[in-house]
Symmetry: C2
């Protein structure tokens, strides 16, 4: 039996017909619309001021104030935990024309955007879920300008929202590269993809890679502690970021921009800013480790009959592929069916249907033929052991892209159904799929439940899709998902942060002592709470 399966696999190792229109992995410009911009999913609410930076700053105006005085509900298009009814904090000042003049004196006319259309673009998130009503956008070009803006806003108590994700001013920031030590130093406004190309030209890679790379800023990545596709291999930004420059709420420029791999002098403060979602300071510069670029990449697409096989396969891959394993992604049958239905030009490389789970394994190493032989041997053994039922190894870049496109396209496909309830959970691998099944039985035929994600990191993306939003459905999902995750000591946000959507849900993942300490730290760094108000402030 196993032998036969192995033979089946071997047959499949010959090249498939190359699919011609596959986009490169991680490159779906069309998806981002004409402006090729991206805003973090959770951060925009109607009637709230949305100030500053990444390369833009929104400061509240009288107009937004009018509406901000009311109670606002996050727009109904927000399909999960609604961060409803945010009351404007009356201690914040209201922006006036003197403020605008002051900003112009620092940034010039071009750095202060009041034009309604341009501001409107900044007022909505990438998914169109959250919408802001700010009328002012500031575009500082240097740490010094950021410092002046913050110092002013702090003294005036004008609330500020740092923002990345726009390529506007990036041309101005010149990355510096240290090839001997493999360290990149750059400004926060650099777009991740540009940095990737920059270091790849020198034979290195960025330690992180994600679908949004074409528009997200490295400053935004740091502030959200982005994980992404290289996490299993190169680990977290806490391990890879060497230094930061951050402007604090009072305008102090905090220079922690070391490019040293090791530095044990005093507390390592930079870690507080990694993942703090712009609530403790504005990241302006970054020094980051870049691993050597390895020439050989292989991608396999496999099927498994059950979830336990996926788990065992992960363990076996860790042991057998060891130092060359660079991705281990999984998706269930529901994901594949959806991807095939909604993604253009994508095909399932395996015969459809009978399999319940699919796994994408990538290896990256320095020896093409050796790596491939190793991957093949591993797959054969896995088939013999009954872990894998079928599988193919990509024979060229276009096949590899197709495999990745399936995995990365699930999110895109699910949006096309109509309504998506999205959860990004960390759960111990053994239990990770239980929640998918339980949710499926709760939801019944109200919707389709998808389970996929970075299995190698214990990171599940749980998406519930339906043709339209319904309170009845939401009641089946929340607080169930949060409570279930909490019971397993999981995290209700593996990658995406708390933002607005989950600001009040922190207690599901963090102890009250920890939350209290966070509040004290927030108060220490930003006593007037001018940075990213309502989000962080609601839990700390």
């Amino acid at each position: 039996m196993a032998r036969r399966a192995a033979a089946g696999l071997l047959r499949r190792l010959v090249p498939l017909a190359a699919s011609d229109t596959q986009p490169r992995r991680g490159m779906y410009p069309a998806q981002y619309g004409a402006t090729n911009r991206y805003f973090s999913i959770f951060y925009w609410i109607q009637g709230q001021q949305h100030p500053l930076y990444g390369c833009r700053t929104n400061v509240e105006t009288d107009d937004s104030q009018q509406s901000a005085q009311m109670n606002f509900k996050v727009q109904k298009r927000s399909f999960s935990s609604s961060a409803a009814h945010i009351q404007r904090n009356p201690t914040y000042s209201v922006l006036n024309s003197d403020d605008v003049s002051y900003f112009k004196s620092i940034l010039g006319e071009s750095g202060v955007v009041q034009d309604e259309d341009r501001v409107a673009v900044a007022n909505v998130d990438w998914m169109g879920k959250y919408k802001g009503a700010s009328q002012l956008l500031l575009l500082p070009k240097s740490s010094n300008e950021v410092s002046k803006i913050l110092s002013y806003c702090n003294s005036r108590r004008l609330a500020v929202v740092p923002q990345g994700g726009n390529t506007g001013l990036v041309g101005g920031s010149v990355p510096v590269y240290d090839e001997v030590n493999g360290i990149l130093t750059c400004e926060a406004g650099c777009v991740l993809e540009n940095l990737s190309s920059f270091v790849e030209n020198k034979g290195f890679i960025m330690p992180l890679d994600l679908g949004a790379k074409g528009s997200c800023h490295i400053g935004g990545n740091i502030s959200t502690n982005a994980g992404g596709l290289r996490f299993i291999r190169y680990g977290s930004l806490h391990g890879n970021v060497l230094g930061l420059e951050v402007v604090l709420a009072d305008g102090t420029v905090l220079d922690m921009l070391t490019t040293l791999r090791k530095d044990n002098t005093g507390y390592d403060l930079k870690h507080l800013f990694i993942g703090s979602e712009g609530s403790l300071g504005v990241v302006t510069k970054i020094a980051i480790l870049t691993p050597a670029k390895l020439p050989s990449t292989n991608v396999a697409f496999l099927s498994c009959n059950d979830y336990i096989s996926c788990q065992k396969l992960l363990l076996a891959a860790r042991r057998s592929l060891g130092e060359i394993l660079s991705a281990f992604e999984f998706m269930d049958r529901h994901c594949i069916n959806l991807a095939m239905k909604y993604l253009e030009g994508v095909h399932n490389p395996l015969p459809v249907s009978p399999y319940n789970f699919y796994v994408l394994i990538e290896t990256t190493g320095s020896d093409e033929s050796y790596d491939k032989a190793k991957l093949e041997a591993f797959l054969l053994r896995s088939m013999e052991d009954g872990l894998v039922t079928d599988g193919v190894i990509a024979q060229d870049i276009s096949q590899a892209s197709n495999f990745w496109r399936i995995r990365e396209g699930i999110s895109e496909a699910s949006v096309k159904v109509g309504a998506v309830y999205k959860y990004d959970l960390s759960i111990p691998v053994e239990k990770l799929y239980d929640i998918v099944e339980e949710t499926r039985s709760r939801v019944g035929d109200m919707g389709d439940v998808l389970g996929y994600g970075h299995l190698g990191d214990g990171n599940l993306h749980l998406n519930i899709v339906s043709t339209k939003y319904s309170d009845e459905m939401l009641a089946q999902i929340e607080p169930f998902v949060y409570e279930w995750t909490s019971k397993q000591r999981g995290s209700i946000s593996a990658e995406h942060g708390l933002g607005l959507m989950k600001a009040e849900k922190i207690h599901y993942s963090k102890s009250s002592e920890a939350v209290q300490l966070m509040a004290s730290i927030k108060k220490l760094f930003d006593p007037n709470s001018i940075l990213n108000p309502y989000k962080v402030r609601r839990y700390v």
Copy 2:
């Protein structure tokens, strides 16, 4: 020419005569004396109270108070930056018999050590450089006991020094291992080497390894942010530690003991405790990532004519050995000469003298013959390119141990000369050897200057050895070494922390804004400054 050199290398690839008495890498129990214990080098001063935990707690008594009222000079055996003239802080209380009774009520008689001999052992550091005068040692067995002790000391304003490095109570702590996710959870008092054996039995390794592993505690490693020999491959503890449980100064048990790889809910507070040298809280439990153990290790020992060749070799090794490179250590001729003179049973595998630099390269991978072939090919190329003048690859474990013994024995050998002035610096690789040469010319024939270290991490160990201590010599070294390092934006402590020795030197590596923020954080976490007083408190 290059061809001839390459032929020379190849000849040397045949097995050398196995040396029979080589200890295993990192295993020199004799070195630690009969008690097999280790205290951090920088932490003990005469007349200072030395309280608590790791698994022991020293609380100040009336006796120590007598002396603590005076001004103390660190003993003269402290051969570098003397942390002299520490004035006892009069706001601390003096330990009385009620306190001792209270501690006994929590810990029982056996948990409260007043016996002079046992306390004396805890009152001196491993190097015998710093000496304390505490009369009380507490041995808590659980987080709950630590919490009670700290809460009491905080309310009484009794100063406390957390301490690891003693195997006393370790038997009590049972590590828990999650094989699917490769995550170890254990108590802070576990000895690193025991944890290593524990996970190696399951096919994994600890992400850190250091010479002191036979006696240092994982809690001590976390608190000093230890680097060590696997750093180049597995990176910093900030990337590998997943969760911590910490008892704060007021006794609050802060549960951050997640075992998740990814968790972006709120600020990642655990990083504040990694490397904070016990000044913000007592680490009681740890969850840490453990990489898969790979079966094949190869070690090469090479010589280079000049430092620029060492640098180029590092760059070439990063590119060619890529994912299997696991150590890149260098040492200069002075180190080798000293090691040959003072270390028993160690021999130089290369013909002596003409070479100025020696490099040890280790690879770790999953395929013995492939890895070795790869290393050989790399060395051949390096000889052809003129980077390497001679070299050998270990043919068995005993040869590999000999190579490592040379590198790891330098510190031991240097102590035997008489006086050692030790500096542990992070400096950009290009400049790293300049300071050795400059120091050498400053010191002249007053002493021998050794340069060695983890070149792959930009970490230089600069040791100046002499037969006896002299102020004249010190004046040539300090503040020169600190100023020079600071000018290169280096770190005056790559691995060892600031401790007492360098508490007042923090400004050489950190901006005043950062130091001020550290002070605020210290105040927030430990308002009565009962944890590790005089050390951290002197810079924050």
